[in-house]
Every structure is written in structure tokens, then in C-alpha cells.
């Protein structure tokens, strides 16, 4: 893919969200001077970003803060009015008083986020050890977490199957941008998960391509799986979701994932998420199974927030 990384027209969204590096911001702002359209888009997206600010709960500062501020302004001179062409908020001209440390722009790798570590398909022994203190029963752990060799070879086999399907049926990869979510009926529950204060997520790569993002909230008692770029299940097969180890080590069916239309599919799991449960996905015969009949494509423990 030969994407132009330096096209300023692509930067308006990032600008509104303050996601740009200094260089990129300079690039965009230079482009704004010659493009009223770009300026209009930038302004409208900045106003949009403010809507995100309005949704945040205000916090009243302590009275001492105001007192010290009032004392401070009484002895602080104001800037001389200058050119009206200065960009709004005067943010682009850093103040002398502003602490302006160089932004860390992905130079050194950030510490791996907790929720994104170890969520590997076909979990290895080391990963399993990390999760072994969960409430999942030993039985479930054995089945889902402690077969690294078997899981690996099975994953490889699945990858081959997926490849074959991809060739035969055509692939849905890479069509996720700018399209609507695969399904919307689940969005109410999904939103309540996202809005929960104990919202958590983890993303795992799926053998054969694509990724599965699992989101959950124990407060809401629900979880959902979002498949991105994951091929449809092979002919005559379906993806089935499971709650593992929630009730005395049981593995409970939690619904089928129909198809991965547009490469993105969201499925809210049936039933209730209980503390200590893991969320898994397998390939099953069409119509689903009562118990898993294949090695999980993913198994994600739902830690408590």
C-alpha cells in the first residue's frame, strides 16, 4: 500500500483530537492557509471534538485553586493584542510559561497495556500460568489453556483451512474503513458495555487473518466479540462463542457468529458473564454445538477491573 503519509488533508481529524505531532500540525496549518475547504473541515471537527468534552462530568475545583489564581492574575500582565490571523485558541504559539516537553511520539515502545498482553491464540504454557489464578476450574483450564503444542498445530491447520476458503469464496479483508458496523441490533448492549465504568477489552489475532476484540463489563454482566478482517467460517461451519469456567467449570454455549460481513462483525454473547469466566470461540458445524468440538481460536480470560 502506497499511502501518502504526508497528505495534510488526512490530518483534520487527528488535529481536532490533538493527536498530531508538532511537525504534522505545522504541515496541516500551512495547508490551511491556502485551502478554505480544509479550514472549514478543521473548524467543524474541532467543534465536534468539543462535544466530547461536554460529555465529561465536570469537577468543581477546590476554592484554594481559585484563590491562588486570582492572586496570580493580579500580578500577571496580559499579552498585547496581536494579529487576528492567529489560530484559534492561540495554541500554536507556545507560551514561555508553558511546560513544553517534547511529546513522546512512539519513539520507545510504550509498556504493553495490561489488557492486551498474553491474549494469544492457542495460549502457551507461559500465558496459561498467568491466567491460572482465575476462577476457571482446573478442568476448563486444562482444556483451554494447557495444550500449547496441540493448540499450535491446530491453529496452523485452521490457518490452512482459512486460506483455502479465502481462495474459494473470496475475501472480505480490508473493507472495514468507513463502513457501518456489521450489525446494529447489538449496539444497545454494546454501548452499555462501553459505557460501564469497569469496561475492559482485549484483542487477539485470529489464525488465518484478522483479529478478535473482546469487550466486557462485569457490572453489566455482558460481553461482546468484534471480529475485524476475519474470514467467514468454512462451508458448513460456523463460529460459536462460549463462556468457559463460569459456573463450576462448565463450558456454556453463548451464541453463534453468523458471518463476518464487510470484514467487521459484532456479536454480543448470549447469557450472563459471570466472574472468572473466560470467553472463547471455536469453529463448529453449522447450527452450533452444545460443547466445543474443536480447539479454540481464542480464549480470553475476563479479569475483574
Amino acid at each position: 500500500m502506497t499511502e501518502r503519509h504526508d497528505d495534510p488533508a488526512l490530518l483534520t481529524g487527528s488535529h481536532a483530537l490533538d493527536a498530531l505531532s508538532d511537525d504534522e500540525r505545522a504541515l496541516l496549518e500551512h495547508a490551511l492557509t491556502t485551502s478554505p475547504e480544509l479550514q472549514a473541515e478543521t473548524d467543524s471537527l474541532r467543534e465536534t471534538a468539543l462535544q466530547l468534552a461536554y460529555a465529561v462530568e465536570p469537577i468543581d475545583p477546590p476554592a484554594s485553586l481559585k484563590a491562588s489564581l486570582m492572586a496570580q492574575i493580579a500580578r500577571t500582565p496580559q499579552a498585547a493584542p496581536t494579529d487576528r490571523t492567529a489560530p484559534v485558541a492561540g495554541l500554536e504559539a507556545p507560551l514561555a510559561s508553558a511546560p513544553s516537553p517534547a511529546p513522546v511520539v512512539g519513539a520507545a515502545p510504550a509498556p504493553a497495556p495490561v489488557a492486551e498482553t498474553g491474549n494469544v491464540i492457542g495460549l502457551g504454557a507461559a500465558d496459561a500460568a498467568g491466567y491460572a489464578d482465575g476462577a476457571a476450574s482446573a478442568k476448563a483450564r486444562r482444556r483451554w489453556f494447557q495444550r500449547p503444542a496441540a493448540a499450535l498445530s491446530a491453529a496452523a491447520a485452521v490457518a490452512v483451512v482459512f486460506l483455502g476458503v479465502g481462495l474459494g469464496v473470496g475475501t472480505n479483508f480490508g473493507q472495514t474503513e468507513g463502513t457501518s458496523p456489521g450489525t446494529t441490533q447489538a449496539s444497545g448492549t454494546l454501548d452499555s458495555i462501553y459505557a460501564a465504568s469497569d469496561f475492559q477489552r482485549t484483542t487477539a489475532k485470529v489464525p488465518g487473518g484478522g483479529s478478535a476484540t473482546v469487550v466486557w463489563s462485569h457490572d453489566v454482566g455482558k460481553s461482546a466479540v468484534i471480529l475485524d478482517g476475519v474470514e467467514q467460517a468454512p462451508q458448513g461451519k460456523t463460529y460459536e462463542l462460549w463462556y468457559i469456567g463460569s459456573e463450576g467449570g462448565e463450558i456454556v454455549p453463548a451464541g453463534l457468529v453468523d458471518s463476518a460481513r464487510n470484514g467487521v462483525h459484532t456479536a454480543v454473547l448470549d447469557g450472563k458473564l459471570t466472574p472468572g469466566a473466560a470467553i472463547g470461540m471455536t469453529v463448529e458445524p453449522e447450527g452450533g454445538s452444545d460443547q466445543p468440538t474443536s480447539t479454540p481460536l481464542m480464549a480470553v480470560p475476563t479479569t475483574q477491573a
Binding site: E3, L10, L11, G13, S14, L17, D18, L20, S21, D43, L45, R46, T48, A49, L50, Q51, L52, A53, Y54, V56, P58, I59, D60, P61, L65, L69, Q72, I73, T76, A79, P81, R84, A86, V88, A89, G90, L95, S97, P103, V104, V105, G106, P109, A110, P111, P113, V114, A115, T176, T179, S180, P181, D191, A195, S197, F199, R201, I226, D228, A305
Partner: protein, 199 residues
């Protein structure tokens, strides 16, 4: 109170509604009016501290940044260009920018990717507010965010509430920077259209 809410102007949550608009107050601040500054602070400081705390988590640091923001408001009020936006947006934009700078600066020494941090920033905003205005705003934003794709929503929330640069996001999400840019732009345009923002 509800009748006072006008989303296309400003809907402030303050329990004591300020009789004068922030724009008028800021105009007076520009001429050195300290009483107007006091009123402006009363009207906006809760918003500013709320937003900054959302990004920084740490209350002491957030109060510090809030103080910096308002000091800058005082100093730069003379340069505020009313034709480019409202006083409230000017102040909140400044607050967000400073919070982002601070979050990135402290990232090297602090592990901001703690479990708590991720949970908080990706849930985006608090659930239930006592304020009718905030609840309404919250619902509007929730509804609009729901219209985004999962990946657009994730990118927008990571950027705005988490303070991530798009290169950081690209690294974290394992996608090209161009993809992050596209998600942010498409997501914001979608959000704008859903929320009927005009500018």
C-alpha cells in the same frame, strides 16, 4: 432549568447559571477585568478540571493544569478571536491540548497503561450525572458514537480521552499510521454529521 439548555450555544452545568455568557465575560477579561475573570472561572473551571482529570487521572496534576489553563486565558484573552469560535470552545480546546501535552510528557516515567487507565479512557466518559445538561450531552455523544464503526470509535476515544498521538495509536493497535489517520478523520466526520455540528 431545562428550558435554559440550548445545545447550539452553550449548556453549562453550573448549578448557578452565569447571567453573562462566557463570550461577553472573555471580552471583558481582555480589557483587564478581574471580576469578569472570576465569573468566567466560575462558569468554566468545572468543565476544565473534569476534562483534564479525564486524561490525567491524577487530581493534583489536573488542578495544576487547570490553573495553567486559566492563567493562559488571562494572558491570551486579548488575542481571542470571537469570529473563530466561542469562548468556551477556546478554553476547552486549550485545556485539552495542555492535558495531552502533560500526559505525553509523563508517559515516559509513568505507566499510564494500567488496567484502570485503559478502562477509564476507553469507557470515555462517566455514566450518570446529576446534571440534566450533562446527561443530555452524554446521551447525544453516546448515540453519535454508536454510529461509528468499532475501530473509528476506539481511535477517537483513545485520542480524545486518552491523549494518544496517532503514531502511538498505530504502534499500540498494530495498524499503519495512515489507517489511524483515516479512522480519526472518518470517525470525526461521522460524529460531526451525526451530531449536527455546524461551524
Amino acid at each position: 432549568m431545562l428550558a435554559l439548555v440550548e445545545h447550539d450555544t452553550e449548556a453549562w452545568s453550573s448549578t448557578e447559571p452565569t447571567p453573562v455568557s462566557p463570550d461577553d465575560l472573555l471580552a471583558r477579561v481582555a480589557s483587564g477585568d478581574q471580576a469578569a475573570f472570576s465569573d468566567l472561572y466560575d462558569a468554566l473551571s468545572g468543565r476544565v478540571l473534569g476534562l483534564v482529570t479525564r486524561l490525567l487521572k491524577d487530581r493534583a496534576q489536573s488542578e495544576e493544569v487547570t490553573q495553567e489553563v486559566f492563567l493562559e486565558v488571562w494572558q491570551q484573552a486579548t488575542r481571542f478571536d470571537r469570529s473563530r469560535g466561542t469562548a468556551a470552545s477556546w478554553v476547552l480546546t486549550m485545556a485539552h491540548r495542555r492535558a495531552v501535552d502533560r500526559v505525553r510528557a509523563s508517559q515516559a516515567s509513568h505507566d499510564r497503561d494500567t488496567k484502570i487507565g485503559i478502562r477509564d479512557l476507553e469507557s470515555g466518559f462517566d455514566q450518570v450525572s446529576e446534571s440534566v445538561e450533562i446527561r443530555i450531552e452524554h446521551e447525544r455523544v453516546s448515540r453519535a458514537l454508536a454510529k461509528l464503526t468499532e475501530f473509528q470509535r476506539q481511535a477517537v476515544q483513545l485520542a480524545y480521552y486518552g491523549g494518544y498521538s496517532h503514531s502511538e495509536m498505530a504502534e499500540r493497535l498494530g495498524v499503519p499510521i495512515g489507517t489511524v489517520k483515516t479512522r480519526l478523520r472518518d470517525g470525526m466526520i461521522r460524529l460531526r454529521d451525526e451530531m449536527g455540528v455546524t461551524s
